[in-house]
C-alpha cells in the first residue's frame, strides 16, 4: 500500500487523542450564527457555528480573506459581532473580556511591538496591562517567557532591531506570560523560514501537551495536518466543515495508484474495471475506484498482471486535507489569495 506519510502521521496522532473519555463536555470556544458585516457592507464572517473542544489543537483553516482574523477578533472581544453569539471559556464575548482574557493568550494578525523598548520591556508592558498579573512576580514571568521562546540572548535589544522571526517569537512570549487555558494563534508562522516554522510548531505541541487548548489559524494545509487534532475549514466567510483532522482527511476520496512503465496498457485495464477520473504520467496511473472492496482489489491487480502490465506498485492512497478541501469546495485552496 502506498500511503501519504503526512496523513498517516496525523491519523496516528488523532487516534491517540480520540478514545480518552471526556471529563466534562465543555467546549473552549463555541459560536452560533456568528456574523460580521463591516461598515463598508463587506460580509467577512457569515453565520459561523464553531465548536472547539477542550484539549484540542484546533486548526482554523482558510485561504487569505476567508474571515479567520475577523472571527478571532470577535472571539477576543476586539470587534462586536453584527449577529450571533460567541462564547469563550463558557462566557459570552465581548461582554466577558475582563474575566476570560486573563486565561487566554493570543497572537492576532502578526506581532505588534514598541520598537523603542527592549524585548524584555515590551513583555513587561503587556504583562502590566493585565490587572490580574502580580507586579511582584513580573520580572520572573518575563524571563521565563523569553527563555521559552529562545529570546534570552536578545532580551535587552530594542524590538525595532528584531528580525520578523524574533518579533513573532516575542509575540508568542507575550501570549505565554501566564499559564493559559486557551492559546489563540493567528497565522503564527507567517513570514518565517522553514526552520522558524518548525520551531513554532514544536512550541505549539509543547504548549498543547501541557493541557492548553490551541486554536491555530492558518492558510497552510500541511501546517494544520502536522500539528492539529481538529480542524475547521473556512471559505468566503462561511464554515465549510469541521471535525477531527483524521475524519476530514478520510472524507477525501482515496485514489487507486498503479506504478508501472506500461502506462497505456494499465489505463486500458483500469477503464474496463470502471476506474474513473484516470490520470496518467510516465510511470504511474491513478484514478477513483468507486466500488472497490477487499475482494475486487486483488482481482484488479490480477487483471493488470495478466494483461502483461509490469506492476511495480499497486495500492490505495488516502486523501489529504487538501483533497478534502478541493472536494468540499470544488476549488483549489489558494484561489482567494
Amino acid at each position: 500500500m502506498t500511503t501519504a506519510p503526512d496523513t498517516e502521521q496525523v491519523r496516528g496522532r488523532a487516534d491517540a487523542v480520540g478514545p480518552t473519555p471526556a471529563a466534562a463536555p465543555d467546549d473552549v470556544i463555541r459560536t452560533s450564527g456568528l456574523t460580521k458585516r463591516f461598515r463598508g457592507g463587506q460580509l467577512a464572517v457569515d453565520g459561523l457555528d464553531l465548536t472547539v473542544p477542550r484539549g484540542s489543537v484546533f486548526g482554523f483553516l482558510g485561504p487569505n480573506g476567508s474571515g479567520k482574523t475577523t472571527t478571532i477578533r470577535m472571539l477576543m472581544g476586539l470587534i462586536a459581532p453584527s449577529a450571533g453569539v460567541a462564547t469563550v471559556l463558557g462566557a459570552p464575548m465581548p461582554q466577558s473580556v475582563g474575566s476570560v482574557l486573563p486565561r487566554v493568550g493570543a497572537l492576532i494578525e502578526g506581532p505588534a511591538l514598541y520598537g523603542f523598548l527592549s524585548g524584555r520591556d515590551n513583555l513587561a508592558r503587556f504583562d502590566a496591562a493585565d490587572p490580574t498579573s502580580d507586579p511582584r512576580t513580573r520580572a520572573h514571568r518575563v524571563t521565563e517567557a523569553l527563555d521559552r521562546v529562545g529570546l534570552t540572548a536578545a532580551a535587552s535589544k530594542k524590538a525595532r532591531a528584531y528580525s520578523l522571526g524574533m518579533k513573532q517569537r516575542l509575540g508568542l512570549a507575550s501570549a505565554l506570560l501566564q499559564p493559559r487555558e486557551l492559546l489563540v494563534l493567528d497565522e503564527p508562522t507567517n513570514g518565517l523560514d522553514p526552520q522558524g516554522m518548525r520551531e513554532i510548531r514544536a512550541l505549539i505541541r509543547e504548549v498543547a501537551a501541557d493541557g492548553t487548548t490551541v486554536f491555530l489559524s492558518s492558510h497552510l494545509l500541511d501546517e494544520i495536518e502536522q500539528v492539529c487534532t481538529h480542524a475547521a475549514v473556512m471559505s468566503k466567510g462561511r464554515l465549510v466543515v469541521q471535525g477531527t483532522v483524521a475524519e476530514l482527511a478520510s472524507r477525501a476520496q482515496g485514489r487507486l495508484v498503479v506504478r508501472t512503465p506500461d502506462v497505456v496498457a494499465a489505463t486500458d485495464v483500469l477503464t474496463k474495471h470502471r476506474v474513473t477520473d484516470l490520470r496518467a504520467d510516465e510511470a504511474r496511473v491513478d484514478g477513483i475506484a468507486t466500488a472497490l472492496d477487499e475482494e475486487s482489489l486483488p482481482r484488479l491487480c490480477a487483471a493488470l498482471v495478466s494483461a502483461g502490465v509490469r506492476v511495480h506498485g499497486f495500492g490505495l492512497e488516502r486523501g489529504t486535507l487538501e483533497d478534502a478541501f478541493v472536494a468540499l469546495t470544488g476549488e483549489g485552496f489558494d484561489v482567494a489569495g
Binding site: P19, L78, A112, T132, S174, E181, H230, R238, G243, L248
Partner: protein, 301 residues
C-alpha cells in the same frame, strides 16, 4: 444558517486533563495600578517626549537672552507680560516664559502627546495586544489621561526650571515686588512660582481630554496630533475676535493667562477658579465622549 456540516463525532475527541493550565486569578489593586505606572514610564521613555520637554526648556533661555541684549542696548517698550520686571528680578522670567509658552508651545506639545495616545497604539497594532491582555478599555483610557496630565505638569515644570536657572544666571534675584506693589521674599516667591506652574498645568487638562477624544476617532497618530494642534490654534484665533465675545468665556483657552492674578497680594482666585471649573467641564464632556467612543469601537487595526 451555516452551511457547516459538523462531522459525526465517531471517535469522541476529548479533553486531556488541563495540567499546567491556568487557574483563574483575581484582579489586585497593585495589578490594576500597574498599567498607570507602565503608561507613565512609556510616555517619558519616548524620545519624542524628551525632545518636546527640551524645546520647552530652551524657550526661557531664548527669552532671557533677548531681554538681556535689549536692556544692555537700553530700549524700553512693549513685550510679553511681566517682561519689564524681568530685568529687576530674574524670577519674573518664570512668569514671562509661561505667558509666552501658554498660547502656543505648551498646547502644541500637549496636543502631540494626547492626540497620539490611543491613535498611536492603534497605528502600531499594540492597542489590540493591550486590549486582549486585557487592559480594559476604561482603564486604558484612564491611564492615558493620567499620563497626559502628568505630561502637562512635566512640560510646565521644564519651562519653570529653565526659567529659574536662566533668570538666576542673567539677572539679579531677590525680594519680589508683586503686581499689587507688595514685596515678598525670594522663598515665598518661589513657592508662588510652583503654585503658578500647577495652575498652568491644570489649565491644560481640558486640552488633554479633547486630544484623547480625537485620538479615539482615528487609527492614525499623526492625524490625531495634527487635528488637536490645529484645533488649539483655531480656538485661540476665535478667542481674539471681539465679535465673538458671547462664546469666548466658554473657550478652553479663554482664561489661560489668569495665572497672573496669583501674583498679587492678596491673590485673586476668581478667574483662576473659573478657568479650573471650565477645564473640569471640558474634561467631563470630552472624557465621556472619548469613553463612549472607545468602549464601543471595533478595533480592526
Amino acid at each position: 444558517m451555516s452551511q457547516a456540516e459538523a462531522l459525526e463525532a465517531g471517535t469522541t475527541p476529548t479533553a486531556r486533563t488541563a495540567g499546567a493550565a491556568a487557574a483563574p486569578r483575581a484582579q489586585t489593586a497593585a495589578g490594576f495600578a500597574a498599567l498607570f505606572r507602565s503608561e507613565l514610564v512609556l510616555t517619558f521613555r519616548r524620545t519624542r517626549t524628551i525632545a518636546l520637554l527640551g524645546i520647552l526648556a530652551v524657550l526661557p533661555v531664548l527669552i532671557g537672552v533677548v531681554v538681556k541684549i535689549q536692556t544692555d542696548g537700553a530700549s524700553g517698550g512693549q513685550g510679553p507680560a511681566f517682561i519689564a520686571q524681568v530685568t529687576q528680578n530674574g524670577l519674573f522670567l518664570v512668569f514671562t516664559s509661561l505667558a509666552v509658552a501658554l498660547p502656543v508651545f505648551l498646547p502644541m506639545t500637549v496636543g502631540v502627546v494626547a492626540g497620539d495616545s490611543i491613535a498611536g497604539e492603534a497605528a502600531t497594532g499594540t492597542l489590540r495586544y493591550l486590549l486582549v491582555a486585557p487592559a480594559g478599555r476604561t482603564r486604558l483610557l484612564a491611564a492615558k489621561f493620567t499620563a497626559g496630565l502628568v505630561f502637562c505638569l512635566a512640560a510646565t515644570l521644564s519651562v519653570v526650571a529653565a526659567a529659574v536657572a536662566t533668570g538666576a544666571a542673567l539677572f539679579p534675584l531677590g525680594e519680589v515686588t508683586l503686581l499689587s506693589g507688595d514685596t515678598i521674599g525670594l522663598g515665598a516667591a518661589l513657592l508662588r512660582a510652583v503654585l503658578v506652574a500647577g495652575v498652568v498645568a491644570a489649565s491644560l487638562a481640558g486640552l488633554v481630554a479633547i486630544g484623547l477624544f480625537i485620538s479615539t476617532l482615528t487609527g492614525s497618530g499623526i492625524a490625531a496630533m495634527a487635528t488637536t494642534v490645529v484645533l488649539v490654534i483655531t480656538v485661540q484665533i476665535l478667542d481674539s475676535f471681539p465679535q465673538l465675545h458671547a462664546i469666548q468665556p466658554f473657550l478652553f483657552t479663554h482664561r489661560w493667562l489668569s495665572f497672573g492674578d496669583l501674583l498679587r497680594m492678596p491673590m485673586h482666585w476668581d478667574n483662576v477658579l473659573q478657568n479650573l471649573g471650565l477645564q473640569s467641564l471640558y474634561v467631563a464632556v470630552f472624557g465621556s465622549a472619548a469613553w463612549a467612543r472607545f468602549s464601543s469601537r471595533d478595533i480592526t487595526a
